[in-house]
Subunit: 598 residues, 2 copies
């Protein structure tokens, strides 16, 4: 059975030394996030994840969710108790607004905890995860009345939330959606239609489920400009604000999926269900985007989280499994064979994962911190800059961390040989679970298009310039620092490839938009390499500083960081050249053939 | 439900035009493989695959195999009937020796059919697939008596075969194996021990199951030099050569796996089972290697096969699914949205798969043809050269076609968006099935080590020189051919990277064997890129010739080949540079950290 140990030490290094969140203790919520408090919270989260959530991850996959004839859904054994522990720990409201009962702590801390939850039990973590997306959308766009009515219960965890976008004929292209909303006389709406792939759509964990549903108000324009967002509670509230009448929102079936079996993915049928408009009519997509950005960071984090737990297990196996001898002579002469971690190719796989996970964690927290600043800073220019960067980098967090996360999980499974393919070892579950993160919340190809088609050209490329400036300032600062050259030199090479790609896009993407589409995925991954490389630069800088200062007795921690950084630059960064070559080859080779020739 | 259409036209192009198998009609078996005969056989195989095997692939995955209390195993519904059809069609003996009832046709033709079988139903195809491996080992190393006793029944398909290598504590490192063989007075042996991961170990398809079992004869030396190979039939034969007494070879359980559910993967318990020595005592690994080489080509073929069927389905979906509009304006203005195949990023994924599959098919057939020549040619030098090349390239067929095949299958699933994650669409089964091919028959890291540590240095690098000579002769021949430059120029760049890598290995691998281990996987993939590129060079050459000659009314076939070849060289070949950089970075970054630091 798999193990999991939350990466508390690494997270503290990132929050304290690399991101130095103390700098922001003048921002709301950050003043309470003292080093002691942060350490205590991460420790408590680790306990919940290691002792409560991880032990029911494998059993939850095997058991799955059960839909009963009356449309109710039962989660796997132990999930109700685990959710109770989650709620009692106050985890749902960690970063939520104190106005509605939240603790208002930084989002960056919430993200650090989020990684642990998904490592321990991704299917479980989705129940609260979707709730937090719904909370964000109501908070940002709901009326005061809606906020007062729904947020306190959701933030305490008594009620959960969902996102209802997809219909059978429309996923990416929401302009095609058909679910309709008919205005009633009392200001509410009657919602009818079918939604699919609704995670946590029906279950037995909470007293009410608050569905956020995209629908088209009768007579609204066609396409994306005629879509509105509604709250559709499973139980319509009574006069006291408690769950009352059962609403016409029912689970028609649960999907049989490749993985995340313990999360109920529902076909939801809306049949004259009572709904409440959030924000303005026909501005539903706008309101939903708040949820989607948050959700995309959360999905990127899932990619990292599964890669991390898969890595930890692969390491255990690689140290325990004895098979063959080192090419340079026996390393465990007392045993019949050496542990397979002596083999360079096994280390190659492990270090590949490790170097991407540790940089991915830094990148995810760095992005989440930008989110905090963009919401909480008192300085408008600082807010704008942080918002620019977070917007630019969200598709990269989502697309790159889930693509790399999946590949890493597959590599971790590979280290197990045949045992990796057998269910009881648990590695194949990680692969099946990790796979969805590349698909939902906008398939990764859509993330790449969002980056190249929207985020990059936005405001005349302001966000991209800001990002490049930040990285170039960093490498420039260390230009004469001998000890930093193994890190900054290959980072500069990556930056050069990214600059050349950007230039190529500016020159060729306008003339023929297919050139931008043809470059998109490679551009996203190239930028991901540079972003992760920048994180390794920052981590190397802090590690070298710490070693110079005596390292506080943590010499090996910092030396291992530097070794992993060197691996990244020698073995991962070289992909940059391939991406550049593909980008510069343009769209011609893609568009030459007729559709019928495929 | 997924579809499948056997690639008959493409296979004929390869056999006739590219490989020109007519050249070999002086070899045994080839004289019967006339163009008409080949076309008829491929047509019949296509019918079996499309109409009989593919329709029970998805249901077989859902139903799986069932082990009963008495240790017997039932295959999924329809498998018995399908196996009957397979046997009646004479497919088991297609390339088997006429001395024992086989048809003796070329192995290259057998391989072409093998791809179709695995595309249609990989779990099914493994039952006869393992039998063919067993046939090869008995044929090569068995005594005349053993051959007369077992081969006719196996070649007709009444009896099936298995390979028993792995034990719980030993997979790659067979030197650790413990299953023991005690000589009996009548010249037989009593076999006792436990084997795991035994594909097709027990089932209801055949009258007898002929297990090939590696075991250690009492008193034999430790390690790999004390291993012998035995035939252990499920039923010991009676005096007439028919299945008689039940032998002590029983299925203890069937493994719950990630995929290939319709193939029974057994824990096999041997308890004083009667066994018959194949070949010499303590030379079992040698005899088993015959089976393993054959099996490795067969597994490479599975990687290609699943990638092909996944591709075909992704194409159907990409043409039917309408979502969004082309970046260059509506392409299906009469519909609410364009089919997603208009998007460059969707085409990028499809062409990536297509360009690797078509070259992979060529490479697989090219390698199989070398196998034919190495066995059947009357010219000793020709035999030796073919054997050199087949030995060198077997780990690449296995490692590269299964790694790329898996990635391709994942990409094909990605094109389905959320639907790809749902079981009923069938794409996730392909991913789960394809995954095993990277693991079994020597995990791909072992293939890479076999290439770099054994095949490359063998006979002073003779095989590698031969391969490079062949590719360089090809590019040299076209040096002044303008029309070939888009293909040969990037191929030469790939060759240069391969030459530089080989040189680096020669200089650094001897001094420090870890440098070879550290380079192995990248070297295997770099050589794979060149091998597939060489195939594209050959296919482009023949397509240009055909177009010049009027193309026989198949202009678009050849033009699409050229377009796909250009995609390969512009978009896939650039990976070569990243591999070279990683190889040249050496082992230091891998070996720097203590095992405890992972």
């Amino acid at each position: 059975m798999p193990i999991y140990k939350a990466p508390v030490e690494d997270t503290l290094f990132l929050l304290k030394d690399v991101l130095n969140i103390d700098r922001y203790n003048n921002l709301p919520g950050f003043e309470e996030a003292t080093p002691d408090m942060v350490e205590a919270i991460l420790g408590e989260a680790a306990r919940l994840c290691e002792e409560v959530l991880q032990p029911i991850n494998h059993s939850g996959d095997k058991e799955g969710c059960t839909r009963h004839e009356d449309g109710s859904v039962t989660t796997p054994s132990g999930f109700k108790e685990a959710y109770k522990a989650y709620v009692e720990g106050g985890w749902m409201g960690l970063a939520a607004s104190p106005d509605y009962g939240g603790q208002g702590l930084p989002y960056v801390l919430h993200s650090a905890v989020g990684e642990m939850l998904s490592s321990a039990n991704m299917a479980f973590a989705m129940y609260p995860g979707l709730t937090q997306g719904a909370i964000a959308a109501i908070q940002e766009h709901g009326s005061d009345e809606l906020k007062q009515t729904y947020l306190p219960k959701m933030i305490e965890g008594s009620w959960t939330g969902t996102m209802n976008l997809t219909e059978p004929h429309c996923g990416t292209d929401l302009g095609l959606l058909r679910t309709k909303a008919v205005p009633a006389e009392d200001g509410t709406y009657k919602i009818s239609g079918q939604k699919i792939f609704i995670s946590a759509g029906e279950h037995d964990l909470s007293d009410n489920i608050i569905h956020l549903v995209l629908a088209r108000i009768e007579g609204a324009p066609e396409g994306t400009k005629g879509i509105s967002l509604f709250i559709v509670p499973k139980f319509v509230l009574d006069a006291e604000g408690n769950p009352g009448t059962r609403n016409g929102a029912t689970c028609g079936s649960i999907e049989e999926k490749m993985g995340i079996h313990a999360n109920s993915t529902c076909v939801m049928n809306y049949d004259d269900a009572t709904g409440y408009l959030i924000g303005e009519e026909n501005r539903g997509l706008n309101a939903m985007f708040v949820m989607m950005n948050e959700a995309r960071l959360g999905v990127g984090l899932q990619g990292l989280a599964i890669s991390e737990v898969a890595y930890q297990n692969a390491v255990v196996y690689a140290k325990e499994r004895i098979q063959g001898r080192s090419l340079t002579g026996p390393k465990a002469p007392d045993k019949k064979a050496d542990p397979i971690i002596v083999h360079p190719d096994v280390r190659r796989m492990l270090l590949n994962i490790k170097s991407i996970n540790e940089a991915g964690r830094a990148f995810m927290l760095w992005s989440a911190l930008k989110g905090d600043i963009s919401h909480r800073s008192g300085d408008e220019k600082e807010r704008e800059a942080a918002d620019d960067l977070m917007g630019l980098l969200t598709p990269i967090v989502k697309g790159v961390l889930t693509d790399k996360g999946f590949d890493n999980t597959v590599a971790a499974q590979q280290i197990y040989g045949g045992h990796g393919y057998i269910q009881e070892w648990g590695m194949e579950q990680f692969v099946r679970d990790a796979r969805i993160a590349q698909i939902y919340e906008g398939a990764n190809g859509i993330q790449a298009l969002d980056l190249v088609g929207r985020k990059l050209p936005k405001d005349g490329g302001r966000a991209m310039r800001l990002f490049m400036e930040e990285v170039n300032t960093f490498t420039g600062k260390h230009r004469d620092n001998e000890a930093m050259q193994p890190y900054t030199k290959p980072l500069r090479d990556g930056v050069k490839a990214l600059e050349a790609s950007t230039m190529w896009l500016v020159q060729n993407g306008m003339a023929n938009p297919d050139n931008a589409g043809a470059a998109s995925t490679d551009f996203m991954h190239l930028m991901g390499l540079v972003a992760l490389g920048y994180m390794w630069g920052l981590m190397a800088e802090k590690s070298l500083e710490a070693l110079k200062e005596g390292a506080n007795g943590k010499t090996s921690f910092h030396e291992n960081k530097l070794a992993t950084a060197r691996f990244y630059f020698q073995r991962v960064m070289p992909e940059a050249g391939a991406h550049l070559a593909r980008i510069q080859s343009g769209a011609d080779s893609l568009m030459a053939m007729d559709a019928e020739a495929f």
